[in-house]
Symmetry: C2
Subunit: 478 residues, 2 copies
């Protein structure tokens, strides 16, 4: 077989790769090659072919040979020729092609109401403002921004984050101590999978199973710290043999602003204890500030990092504040850890897209990020109020906790009713999780039944219906 690549490239039109039989009449060979390309599904319905003149030039055949071959396939119904839109593969040919994959994003199939925690409503994404920030950010960037990327992340974004996190979260850092990643999970992989920190790692008795899986995959054993009314028992880091002599955790992963998913901030005394422990034992506190921007009261919620930037790794992302579709997160690191994290990341940026980095930098600097967070805070506060009101009216025996902040609440259930309630909800097309699915397998304390209800995901017009459906599956008063 001889083959030709049609670089109509040089004079307009689309590229086309064709294999022509080396012998025999050119028109027949060309027609056969085109027919085969369409029949095999290689050229799909609607695909635009190069002008026959360009095709002729590139194949080195006479113009009318190419024109005749096109005409032949048009006559046979393989191609269509329309004024203006040129020659294309006929639509009806699509019938022979396998259907395109159109399965919805995982976990959404067959769900009438999505009350899973932690997913902002996709409809709330600020498309116009984001694209404007992308235009500004890309427009203002130097050419080197579009070459191989600095694995630390664009300095424009690190500068914007240093200022924003200081102003809003009380974080104390500088751009050179921030490393950009593609989300919290990526950060965990870099720090533990990359050998920056080693286990055992103390974690909260309740947390995201996905994070525990990442740690396990990285060979890190986790030790669970119980919770009480003051939040996670960081006092056990020092006092409890389970995490010093026997397990000997060298770092602790906390969600101090709003314990995930139980809720409630870490008491100031417990914050101090964690930081003191890290300072005196040479440990590290990993602060997962997953929804720190969404607080609905006056309680102090400055980042623990602000207490001791030398011993706290502060991590955040845009997954809840903006969208999980934008794959950007950040690690605010103690200066001594920066090089190790960069070494774990590699010589060049392989993960975080530069366009998104430049867009987010502009989005923050222009104040659009504040504006979006405020808008969402208003919306979530009102959704939270609707949830509380609905429960007070229809299920007063169910208490709601953890609602001072965040995108979800915890509904406390009568002992032994959690599993059946989750099952009932699932049967009725309500997606939500029981507290049990967040419990550390070696949690030191007895489980309390509860539902983790995310109120951010349903579209505005479906939220009331979602609450009605939720109330209908709650267990009756005992």
């Amino acid at each position: 077989m001889a083959a030709e690549r049609v670089n109509s490239g040089e004079d307009g039109g689309a590229d086309l790769y064709l294999e022509l039989a080396p012998t025999g009449p050119r028109r027949a060979a060309l027609a056969a090659a085109l027919r085969e390309a369409v029949r095999s599904g290689r050229l799909t319905a609607g695909t635009r072919l190069p002008p026959y003149r360009a095709l002729a030039i590139d194949l080195g055949v006479a113009r009318n040979t190419a024109a005749d071959a096109y005409a032949e396939l048009v006559a046979e119904g393989w191609l269509t020729a329309r004024q203006g839109s040129g020659t294309r593969v006929a639509e009806r040919v699509a019938a022979v092609r396998p259907p395109s994959a159109t399965k919805p994003a995982s976990g959404r199939a067959g769900v009438a109401h999505n009350l899973r925690q932690g997913q902002p409503d996709g409809a709330s994404f600020p498309r116009t403002a984001w694209v404007a920030a992308m235009r500004h950010g890309i427009g203002a960037a130097p050419s080197e921004a579009f070459g191989p990327g600095d694995p630390q992340g664009r300095v424009e974004l690190r500068r914007a984050l240093a200022g924003y996190l200081a102003r809003v979260r009380g974080v104390r850092t500088a751009p050179e101590h921030i490393v950009i990643c593609s989300g919290f999970a990526h950060g965990l992989r870099l720090i533990f999978g990359g050998g920056v920190l080693a286990g055992p790692l103390a974690v909260e008795a309740y947390g995201l199973a996905f994070h525990r899986e990442i740690l396990t995959a990285a060979g890190v054993r986790t030790v669970a710290l119980g919770l009480d009314e003051r939040g996670t028992r960081t006092d056990l880091l020092v006092a409890h043999p389970a995490t010093t002599s026997r397990h000997g955790a060298r770092s602790v992963l906390l969600t101090p602003a709003h314990q995930f998913p139980v809720g409630g901030p870490l008491h100031s005394a417990r914050r101090g204890t964690a930081v003191d422990w890290a300072r005196t034992r040479g440990g590290v506190v990993l602060e997962d500030d997953y929804d720190g921007e969404f607080r609905y009261d006056r309680e102090p919620v400055g980042a623990v990092q602000g207490l001791d930037p030398e011993h706290v790794v502060y991590m955040g992302s845009v997954s809840k504040s903006l969208s999980p579709a934008i794959r950007l997160g950040w690690m605010v690191l103690p200066p001594r850890m920066v090089d190790d994290v960069l070494a774990a990341k590699g010589l060049r940026e392989a993960w975080a897209g530069v366009g998104d980095q430049l867009a987010l930098a502009d989005f923050i600097e222009s104040g659009q990020y504040d504006t979006h967070v405020r808008r969402m805070r208003r919306r979530y506060r009102s959704r939270r109020a609707q949830l509380v009101a609905a429960l007070a009216e229809r299920a007063p025996h169910v208490t709601v906790t953890g609602i001072a902040a965040g995108l979800h609440a915890v509904l406390r259930l009568p002992p032994g009713t959690e599993a059946q309630t989750v099952a009932r909800a699932t049967r009725r097309g309500i997606a939500l999780d029981g507290l049990a699915s967040f419990r550390h397998p070696e949690s030191p304390q007895p489980h309390e039944d509860g539902l983790v209800v995310g109120y951010a995901t349903p579209p505005e017009h479906r939220y009331k219906a979602a609450l009605d459906a939720l109330c209908a599956v709650l267990p009756p008063r005992k």
Copy 2:
């Protein structure tokens, strides 16, 4: 310490986190808190503070108390108050802050001429067209696009790629057999690190050390196949005991369109051999089509995948065709491998940004991608011609090979002169690599001295100077 978060949020202005001493006059406490926040560098130069009215409301202090505190810090020079721009942290305060990180992307420091292979000139990135594609793509996407992402990638992009790769590269696939990733390296990590395929893996005697490192890290032993005038010795997969009985490679990684970095296409007989081997031994051919779009002649270069979609994994990315700053790659998989790759990737998209995916889909569908590739092909062809002409004039004893395609050429050097030539180039600020740095440590054949010269990276106005500098460091005729 008591603390307040200023949610001037609800009525305009920026958020501000402040810690006030619980006792003593409010004005003094507020002034002290602001002063400390600025002195510590937490509030950086130029940061806009909320209007004093909003601050007063949120702190629960009298308006004039907040106004007086602001006035006090303005008087002290910590803050500036300007009509229109409100109250901001004074610029001169920046002096006390550490400088921002501004180190260039790795490998660029102190380089006058960058002739490293494989990096498109950042200045060639089509900013305007890309942002337009982003606007269209994001504008046309359904809301669910901004929720948790399908790990397979956006269907809009998989559809566009299926059509494009079929039309331009002869790939035969359907959207449901494509998985999006953040680049070729990510694809390798998923396939071997994720346990989709196991070693040993046959590779080409010359290739990217970075890729070998990824495979080694994944515990995959690589077996080197030699090269000759027909390209990589895929015939050895069957004949040579080194890759059957003794090593038993179960898959082979090839760059058939343009061997990297030596150059030259894989001979059709060798293509057939590789595919036959995979079919008869239940093996897999991994096709790295890193620069398949950039060919400057009529030689057939259809993807090997088109020969047998059931046994070839076709991989590509935008790193060379568009920019390494856009972190998008694709794996065209044999149907039976799709689920395993998705399992390795996880429940949700954690890597490839949805914005970039939607933008690239639109960029391809609109024909902009073809337009950009053609523009770059013209530019590279002319740079290639300038390189060949410069060498013919100033170093006729140096032969150039591998220039039928791609973004780089190989300059053959007299035996034993490679290392010193690279060292001389480095001393003169020319960044390039010798062929030796791409050689597999267990390559079965003797090394031939050569330089790998990338001609895509220098800006247009610097290219001639780069060629002059290059010719000046080449070894003299023996």
